[in-house]
């Protein structure tokens, strides 16, 4: 429609100010990527924890919160670093504005990180009896309250879902960026968490029984294939607003973002699917780990493109 307008009117901007380019850059990509690992590890780990006995996944009880803790701290660090006034981050807690998904997300993510930290301390104190020595009050208290892990764990799993999803709400509130307005963003965030969570757990699953690894392969296969088809659906088939179409033109027309997008799709979605499928029967740990690493790399690239291209479209 507007493309025809351009042809009909030959309207060209001949004098204007420089417009801002990409505002949310690689730090926000890293932020989303790390959060996917942080929550995904809990969601996938919860399934394994309830499905298998402790002996079958020996280090899962402490490894799961440890991986989540590290990823969540990367996420929080880059959230902070990306702010132009990082010291004023405290204002989110002092002057919260509850219609903002940024506010709600920051509160939920902070609570989630606190609970994951508690899980990590209890899990590690139970798994390593000598940790902290005899005088360490923290580990002693953690061992004395070992049952607290099981009590709060269901709540942590429940909280992982909105913490995974709230970034999609931020993107939905970013009403200037039409490509992010699609309801599919919610599902993409959830699938990204399953991809990243299963991939991160695969990397630490060396000592687990092969049934658990097979389940991780299947979760990875499901997540990458569902996410891939959703990306393809948005890319090729869905009816979109003219802004969203114009945004996707940055991929359709070739160039660096097209290369990054397709590289991400092949590297992080297509190849890992077949690699993971090949390990379902023969339990090849090395191939599965390779698939996990490719998934994490590809997920970063796909998220990076989806984050940046809507910002290149002139808004006025």
């Amino acid at each position: 429609m507007v493309e025809n307008t351009i042809q009909a009117t030959q309207a060209v901007v001949t004098l204007d100010v420089a417009l801002p380019g990409i505002i949310w850059g690689w730090m926000i990509t890293l932020n989303m990527w790390a959060k996917s690992i942080g929550t995904g590890v809990i969601l996938v780990g919860a399934y394994l924890l309830y499905r298998y006995k402790k002996e079958e996944t020996p280090n899962l009880r402490w490894m799961m919160p440890l991986l989540s803790f590290v990823a969540l701290n990367v996420f929080l660090l880059f959230t902070l670093v990306d702010l132009h006034q990082p010291y004023r981050m405290i204002n989110i807690f002092l002057y919260p504005h509850w219609t903002s998904a940024i506010t709600v997300g920051a509160w939920m993510a902070s609570l989630f990180t606190l609970l994951v930290t508690i899980l990590m301390v209890i899990g590690a104190a139970d798994a390593f009896p000598r940790l902290g020595g005899k005088k360490c009050k923290v580990t002693a208290m953690a061992r004395n309250n070992s049952g607290f892990y099981e009590k709060i764990f269901p709540f942590v799993v429940f909280l992982a879902i909105p913490v995974t999803m709230y970034t999609a709400i931020i993107m939905a509130e970013s009403s200037a960026r039409e490509l992010w307005q699609a309801p599919t963003e919610m599902m993409q965030m959830f699938l990204a968490a399953l991809m990243a969570g299963s991939a991160a757990l695969i990397l630490s699953s060396g000592s687990w029984n092969k049934e658990a690894r097979r389940d991780l392969s299947l979760i990875l296969m499901f997540a990458v294939s569902a996410s891939f088809f959703m990306y393809m659906g948005e890319y090729f088939f869905s009816f979109k607003s003219s802004e969203a179409e114009a945004t996707l033109a940055y991929i359709h027309a070739g160039g660096e973002y097209s290369a990054e997008f397709w590289f991400g799709m092949i590297l992080g979605f297509i190849i890992p699917f077949f690699l993971a499928a090949s390990t379902v029967k023969n339990d090849n740990k090395t191939v599965l780990r390779f698939a996990a690493i490719l998934t994490l790399a590809g997920l970063y690239l796909a998220k990076d493109v989806w984050l940046k291209i809507p910002q290149m479209l002139p808004l006025s």
Binding site: V2, T5, D16, D82, H84
Partner: protein, 250 residues
């Protein structure tokens, strides 16, 4: 009371007086704009025309920037103005992502978001916004759109059928109206924005948001050591790669 703006594009002659008045009144730093006038050339030679479109914050009744601001730095005033409290802003740029009109910028001196406030400080003292005063052809009309006897309300009534707002499909209910606008002037996708093609300067994208000399580490150190590089001179080095031409392109 609901304050609103109307620009009669049939009257605007692109003198940029409003743009300069706004810069001076609000001390807007170089590389940033609260109000700008965009030139669009329409048609093929010899059947060509040039349109001038002043663009500023639309002070939406349903403002996405206010909704997404995590600390209420962006807030409504009783007179309908969407105001900003820079001392509270954390610089997350959420508002820049949310504003469908690209009206918010990251101030390179304060590293906080900023935008047109309809000169709220002048209105408080009973004065008109600086851009209205500066306009030589009275193309900028400002007033209470809820008062049916105000000049802006009467102007709207007189030009019914020829009044437009930008991006009505966003349901933001802008309180900024245009008379004599067309799709090719008000819809950014209806005209080409070719990088490097311009009359007096390059049509391009900024490579930075906020202070270009204010890196990640500096953000944390600034309160302790200050940063003296962020004055207007810091933005005068146009050859230092502060703009890049490969982005954009519509």
């Amino acid at each position: 009371m609901k304050l609103g703006f109307l620009v009669d594009l049939n009257l605007c002659m692109g003198c940029k007086g409003c743009e300069i008045a706004c810069k001076v009144e609000n001390e807007v730093p170089l590389s940033s704009w609260r109000l700008r006038v965009k030139y669009i050339d329409i048609g093929s030679f010899p059947n060509t025309s040039r349109s001038f479109t002043p663009l500023r914050c639309n002070h939406c009744e349903n403002a996405p920037c206010e909704r997404i601001c995590p600390v209420s730095a962006l807030h409504y005033l009783e007179n309908g103005i969407v105001n900003i409290d820079s001392s509270r802003c954390i610089g997350c740029a959420g508002c820049m992502m949310a504003c469908p009109y690209g009206a918010i910028y990251m101030d390179p001196e304060t590293n906080t978001a900023d935008k047109c406030t309809y000169c709220a400080h002048r209105i408080e003292s009973g004065m008109m916004p600086a851009c209205v005063v500066a306009c030589p052809v009275e193309a900028n009309i400002f007033g209470d759109v809820e008062d049916e006897h105000s000049y802006i309300s009467r102007y709207i009534m007189e030009h019914q059928g020829n009044i437009q707002v930008r991006k009505p499909e966003k349901h933001t209910n802008p309180k900024h109206y245009y008379v004599g606008g067309g799709t090719q002037t008000l819809n950014p996708l209806a005209h080409q924005r070719l990088e490097g093609y311009g009359l007096f300067n390059n049509v391009t994208h900024l490579a930075h948001n906020g202070d270009p000399h204010h890196g990640v580490i500096d953000r944390f150190l600034a309160p302790f050591i200050g940063h003296e590089t962020a004055d207007n001179k810091a933005f005068m080095d146009f050859d230092a790669g502060q703009t890049k031409s490969k982005e954009g392109g519509h």
